[in-house]
């Protein structure tokens, strides 16, 4: 770890006055690890975890979640539990109680891949860590890696559970920066790697996530599930995960939300599957077919071909369960 300065931001303006070379620090559950591993370095850490943050209902009946809200607080919030259960479950599927008590919403969105080659600053090549150096995950250990939207330069996945549910729920990211405030749909916030895997989000230098807004919960947000698939029962990143929401009217799909984790460099909104399902009978066969439609774009690697079938079956199982049938 390289020595750095540390200060606590007293308010948003103070945070935004940080000079270039500074990094915002949330709960520190990812960034501090990366500093220790020499994957990241910073001249200064500006701690924004103590900036005021709350969970409040918006005028239109949505929910505004401050960036410094802890993961555990968001998971436990009554409105989240009742209106957006997939979000609560996604949060609780992540990390451990201790880490959830530290990790913030803003930091969770900004967390970086768990690719083992990204983490090995001393001994491995990684285009995300060091642009142009190469990618050792291709041809190496890539069981946890992407099957959708990857490139020849990077096959890493985004590790968040929370973001998968937020993506399915059409969350919007509130951003403040030197040039003022703006909002971006979460689906647009994270970037696919292309030839620039080191560019992971739309956030510009000096910009700070201030909040996440959830639109009012419709039936497909409230009737929802999150299923995380992993080898061990807890404290593991997803091999794949599925956030699903379903509204069935007269046996037919009136509305459906599907987002996938562990399959791409960003939380993956399965728009093709959603579009394919609208108006169809809510049956396992149709869910399987729609999932297959989404996954026609899959390009698995040596170590993760299993994810294609696994994702398809898990999407179908989640939606079938929501439809009230046996998986």
């Amino acid at each position: 770890m390289t020595p750095f300065a540390y200060r606590t931001a007293s308010d948003r303006a103070d945070a935004l006055s940080a000079h270039s070379g500074a990094r915002f620090l949330g709960g520190g559950t990812n960034l501090v690890d990366l500093l220790r591993q020499n994957v990241e370095s910073a001249a200064e850490l500006v701690d924004v975890s103590r900036l005021p943050g709350s969970i409040s209902e918006t005028v239109n009946g949505g929910l505004l979640v401050g960036a410094s809200v802890k993961n555990s607080a968001l998971a436990a919030h009554p409105l989240v539990r009742s209106r957006y259960p997939m979000l609560s479950r996604a949060l609780l599927a992540g990390a451990s109680a201790q880490i959830r008590n530290m990790a913030t919403v803003g930091g969770n969105i900004m967390q970086r891949t768990r690719c083992v080659y990204f983490y090995d600053a001393e001994g491995a090549r990684c285009n995300k860590r060091q642009p142009g150096s190469g990618c050792d995950a291709i041809g190496g250990f890539n069981r946890y890696h992407a099957i959708l939207g990857a490139s020849e330069d990077c096959v890493a996945t985004h590790p968040s559970d929370m973001c998968v549910a937020l993506t399915a729920l059409d969350a919007v990211v509130h951003i403040a920066g030197p040039d003022g405030e703006r909002t971006v749909a979460l689906t647009e916030f994270h970037q696919l790697p292309g030839a620039t895997p080191h560019i992971e989000t739309l956030l510009k230098p000096g910009e700070l996530i201030t909040a996440v807004e959830l639109p009012p919960a419709g039936a497909s947000a409230t009737h929802s599930e999150y299923r995380k698939v992993r080898d061990r029962s807890s404290y593991a990143f997803a091999l794949i995960s599925v956030a699903g929401g379903l509204e069935v009217v007269d046996g037919k799909v009136a509305d459906v939300r599907i987002a996938l984790g562990g399959v791409a460099a960003k939380p993956w909104r399965a728009t093709r599957a959603e579009a394919a399902l609208k108006g169809l009978p809510a049956t396992r066969e149709n869910f399987l077919a729609a999932a297959a439609e989404e996954l026609t774009a899959a390009r698995p690697l040596d170590g993760n071909a299993f994810k294609v079938g696994l994702t398809q079956r898990t999407i179908a199982a989640v939606l079938t369960s929501l439809a009230g049938e046996r998986a």
């Binding site: 770890m1 220790r36 083992v116 080898d231 061990r232 696994l310 079956r313 998986a327």
Partner: protein, 772 residues
Amino acid sequence: MSKLQNALIGGVRTVLGHLPAAWLPGASPDQLADKRVTLGTQQPRIDGPEKVRGTARFAAEVPMDDLLHAAFVHSTIARGTIAELDVTAAEAAPGVALVMTHHNAPRMKVPPTIGLTNLKAAGNHTLPVMQDAEIRWNGQVMAVILAETREQADHAATLVRMSYDAAPSRTRFEEGKAHARTPDSMLMERNRLEKGNPARKLAEAAVSIDATYNTPWLSQNPIEPHAATIAWQGEKLIVHDATQMINATAGSLAKVFGIKEEDVFVSSPFVGGGFGAKGLWDHQILGAAAAKLAGRPVRVRLSRASMHRLVGGRTQTEQRVALGSDANGKLKALLHHGYATKPLHSICDEGFGLTGRSLYACESFDIVQHYVDLDLLANSFMRGPGEAPGTFAIECAMDELAHALKMDPVELRRRNVATCDPVSGAPHSQSDIMAAYDMGAQRIGWGRRAAEPRTRSDGEWLIGMGCASGTFPFIRMPGTSARITLDSGGHAHVASAAHEMGMGTATVQRQHAADRLGLPLDSVSVTIGDSRLPFASFAGGSSQTASLGAAISAASDKLAAQLLRLAGNDTPLAGLKPGEVRFADGGLRKIDDPARYESFASILKRAGREEVSVIGESTAPLEMLKFSMHSTSAIFCEVRVSEVTGEIRVARLVGAFDCGRILNAQTAASQFKGGMIMGLGMALAEETLLDERSGRIMSTSLAEYHVPVHLDVPDIDVMWTDIPDPRTPMGARGIGEIGTTGVAAAVANAIFNATGIRVRDLPITLDKLNLG
């Protein structure tokens, strides 16, 4: 290990086979096998309160003035030489006191390596430590930084600039197999074992199976990373270590630095988990060398990543097992061939080829093990070396045979129980594996198992049950000694340089000494964990309880003799020989005349002595060569497997053990359960991600190297036959490692029963079920 060794050991065995058992250690059963007061009862660990309060002092916590902290720079290639090593920036970094490389490291000898002949050897590999520019594995230490704080040392380590002249390296198992070597012997056994025409028996068998099983590299992950706090006082070297080899570490460091053995002090009162990992590795040597150069004490505290790169774990194996039986399941042939990676510089045989030699009666055997030499970190001993991977292969194969025979797998074992050693014909000291099977089967409700795979389910979850045998040899180490000091207040103090890695050494030996000396528990204390105490062998091979037990027993015999001498003639005990008295009620009593008694206090007072002190030693373990001495177990498992995702969840785990007498139900249950959880990790989670392109370990934290979490561990039931072994101290055999054996096979067999899918590669992760 050589042909000569085979001939020697074979010769000794032959001679011992003709000797009457009465002439050997363990000739008559230890009375404490049955006459027990505190042994066999539940006793909490005496070190528990200290550990809970945080006052137990571990190696990385020993306070020392003027202490420097060490950080390591590791190589990032597997083979080659250092071309350029620029440490100027590191040396100039804040707080840095020393940068040590092969340029300025003191000349040091290679430590003597762990073996059966030198009890003062602790080395785990035969490579020089920081003596030249050569790189022998990816992760070898190239530079040591000493700084005022650990953070400063870590930072300076990032400033070392290094380039290599890389050489071709051998890091691929498959390629290495083509050049595998086949030594004549493996541990104490001959390597190639052919007995009774196995080829013909296999060809003629009514039913047979033939399959290949794979187990991966595993990394050691005790909760306490390796650490040492090291200081020189002139020519004297003081090492506060985390080790399960105290005297051997002292002896080895003396050789490394060319100093006198009595000038090296190793203290290790508490170890936060050993599992075979806590021996002598490069970090203690480098720490001591750097402390010498810097002229200041040094603390070495390995990061989890450094641990994975420097401390060898379980090696990779590939094992082919072929079994043939008659139509009734009686084994006709057992073939066990395989490969294990063992670099030339490694000293650890992962002797999986021993497992099949003792478990079952069989008419013929064909067993051989080949070693693959690669440019990798030396593999080493990891809980149940040999038997842990060996039982996975053999016990999965038995399950496959049972399925082919359409026979209950427990019944198949019953039909092949060995009544003596299946290879040598030596008698068992004690063995009743079916008692364990019957207990375990009843506890798990084996009757609920469906004979046909994939017939039970609960929603999407397929349910199955499996079983497997575990096994581990009895080992008693010679040379381990203990001092008993009895004072005039009737208090006995036991001291030995033995080890406490969390298993309850002092707790159990205190019970032992109390029962042995006829004293209440409160009148006995035990001190272990320091090289200045009477010599002890390592705590490995599940041998320490028997070895230290034998030493205490021998010391108690001497104590009786000494007390009788001190008692003289003016005593009810006058004229009695040691064999005629026993310890009872805080004194000595004639065995067949209870009225003839005198208390310790009275004897010492009359002799004008404050205390009496004797040392006893564990003698040569000839019983191990005369008898077939193995602990066995029956492991039962119930699993649930999602047919949607392939996720595997263990619902129940039962272990029934035949390990002789159990000495402390509480510490034993913990040992068994801990071993079984390690077996669960081996079955479902653990795998060192060794990138074969570079020989580099990519799983260097517990985020990537998965061990079971609480939610993966079901309620575990453990039980034991508690049948005394008449040839061992206290009637007990070691229990430290057997818990790990058999578990992976039981899990794999349960998964087959649940799904109809046979996975022969560990760990069994959901993708290996190939659900599509």
